[in-house]
Amino acid sequence: MKSLRKLNKDRVSAVLLIVLGVAIVVQGVTYRMGTLTRMGAGFIPVVLGVLLTLVGVAIGVTAEPGDFGDAHSAPTEWRGWLCIVGGVFSFVLLGMYGGLVPATFVSVFVAALGDRGNSVRDAALLALALVVAGSLIFSFGLHLQLPLFAWG
């Protein structure tokens, strides 16, 4: 079972790299290619895209079920992923429409909920502590451009 998972990892990597490489080439050829002597903007990216595709193919071909390196295959931690990524994006959104204080509170609160060991109360307390510390350090201390509150 473990060897199967390792095999899949390499295959998935290969597909991912090939898709990326082809996409880079497809977009790259829309820029001026130029000649080897006078390269255009598209030359190097296209070469890189081709290289990436080739490496992807090589990884796919050599994918072997042997267990090399430290493959720790644990199930994906969806809750952690959702909360951490959500935390960063909520900082962006609330930074735009709310200001530093709400952005800090919500992003820390959401991110903290990603850990199973944190209760809602712990997360809220941590967020509150960082709101205070963050406002003091960044707004009053370092004069961050982001206002504490911004409506709209």
Partner: protein, 508 residues
């Protein structure tokens, strides 16, 4: 010789200027502090403070970043020895013998030995930097665009294949990094590449956003709910840190050998500190009269890898500063910071910016002395810091990352870049790709492209220029050798694995 000493004297003058000294000490303290925190390595720390360097002059900026780096390496050893927690991969080896020593109640002595070895090795590394850099610089002056591109290719290739894990995956990440470096306005033609009409992307991807995504957020994503960090009631006081005379004796030669291993590998571009520490450890176990003691708290198993990591770190600065070829991702970040400050890394750096180069060297010494002095009385504080649980740590770090990246260009778009690279990084980490080569590729990408295009322009499109110019030919030969060695290793593994596999299938 005398010249180097005079330069060094000048360097001390630069490093001891109050404002430079202040930033350097600040970097060391922050690095040490964050390095102690579980799960935070020098890469995360440097990335987090990268935004700060945008607002201070280049000399203190680079002194601060370097301070963070070796400060966090000192800090990392504490977590490795007392908690069996390698916050920075090179310390993984230190755990093997350091933690058993803690269990035996000699954790303090292990820390003391680790610090002495680090200090000794760093001093040797610094001396090598002082005397070797000018020599290398003299050679580097003969470099044209062709030589610079080929040595960059060698550095990238070495960085990609010599890290742990699959060399092909390392190459893939390097190429991807080169591509990410190409995003934005092409410097020669002015064409906006891969920006898809997003204005914020025309200046390219932000270095701080990229590295914080890859080494910060991606790390949280991979670590959250996975690592059980037990609060350990290790009590280490100052007087526990003095090793016994026997321990000193046992550690002395391993320390010398570790330093030598580190210095040797430091000169090779692309070999990361992790692999260096593993080699130093393996060497000690091989030549030891009591190999069975290793893994159960042998002091040599702490001294050698710690010494190797520190001499390697210092020697790593030689190719980074004199050739502009970073040895690993940390060096790549430092170079990236220089580029942001408008300083072109490369052979001309030492002569054009002697304040940066010699100031940096002098500050290493000051910094290492300070670290020795600081860490002894502060050990109690560090032990308490180690007990901060990860569940409170990473949301706080996430906030500092977000604010830090925002403040570089006052742009929330950069913050969303962090999230994107966090996801990308975590996906690749989950697929067993190394993240460090991507940053190496990103930093070197634009430099490589510029030099490569210039070399092609000068040679009228003749690719053969890379093998007809003698220095470049040697470097290309080294590249070919690296690839050949990888192919050979692969072929050998293949022969070994196939029969094994058949057996495994039969057994099931």
């Amino acid at each position: 010789m005398q010249h180097a000493l005079l330069d060094l004297w000048y360097g001390f003058g630069v490093a001891l200027q109050p404002s430079n000294l202040m930033w350097s000490v600040f970097g060391i303290l922050i690095g040490n502090l964050i390095g102690v925190l579980p799960g935070m390595g020098p890469l995360t720390t440097i990335s987090m403070l990268l935004p700060l360097t945008y607002v201070i002059p280049p000399v203190p900026a680079i002194l601060m970043l370097a301070g963070i780096f070796y400060g966090s390496m000192y800090g990392g050893a504490i977590g490795a020895i007392l908690l069996n927690l390698p916050s920075h991969p090179p310390h993984a080896v230190t755990c093997i013998d350091g933690y058993p020593m803690t269990q035996r109640g000699r954790g303090g002595a292990a820390l003391g030995i680790a610090m002495m070895s680090s200090f000794f090795a760093a001093s040797v590394g610094i001396l090598m930097m002082v005397f070797l850099s000018p020599v290398l610089e003299a050679v580097a002056f003969k470099f044209g665009p062709a030589e610079i591109s080929s040595i960059m290719m060698l550095g990238l290739l070495a960085g990609a294949t010599m890290s742990r894990g699959s060399p092909l995956k390392g190459v893939a990440m390097t190429v991807l990094g080169l591509f990410v470096g190409a995003i934005g306005t092409d410097v020669i033609s002015g064409t906006a590449r891969y920006t898809f009409g997003i204005n914020e992307l025309s200046d390219g991807v932000d270095l701080a956003a990229l590295s914080l995504g890859l080494f910060g957020i991606a790390d949280f994503l991979v670590t959250v709910n996975r690592k059980e960090i037990k609060a350990n009631e290790a009590k280490v006081r100052m007087r526990d840190m003095r090793p016994t005379r026997l321990e000193m004796k046992q550690a002395f030669f391993p320390m010398l050998r570790g330093t030598a291993v580190g210095a040797l590998f430091g000169a090779m571009p692309g070999t990361g500190p992790t692999i260096t520490t593993f080699i130093a450890y393996a060497l000690e176990r091989k030549i030891s009269k009591t190999p069975e003691a290793f893994g159960k708290g042998a002091i040599a198993g702490v001294a050698a890898p710690e010494a190797a990591a520190h001499s390697k770190t210092q020697v790593d600065f030689i190719p980074t500063m004199s050739l502009g070829i970073p040895g690993d991702a940390v060096m790549a970040l430092l170079l990236g910071a220089l580029v942001i400050k408008g300083i072109q890394p490369g052979p001309q750096l030492i002569s054009e910016h002697p304040d940066i180069f010699w100031g940096l060297i002098a500050s290493f010494w000051i910094g290492n002395v300070l670290l020795m002095v600081l860490n002894v009385p502060l050990i109690g504080v560090w032990v308490r810091m180690l007990q901060v649980p990860y569940r409170l740590l990473y949301p706080s770090a996430l906030f500092f990352i977000a604010v830090g990246v925002y403040s570089t260009h006052n742009s929330l778009f950069d913050v969303s870049e962090v999230a994107v690279f966090g996801i990308v990084g975590a996906v690749f980490l989950a697929l067993d790709f190394p993240a460090a080569p991507l940053v190496l590729g990103y930093v070197l990408g634009p430099l490589l492209e510029e030099n490569f295009r210039r070399a092609m322009l000068l040679s009228r499109g003749e690719l053969s220029v890379f093998v007809t110019r003698p220095i470049s030919a040697w470097i290309i030969a080294a590249c070919a050798l690296l690839i050949a060695a990888q192919l050979y290793a692969y072929a050998r593994r293949l022969r070994k694995v196939r029969p094994l596999l058949a057996e495994e299938l039969l057994a099931e």
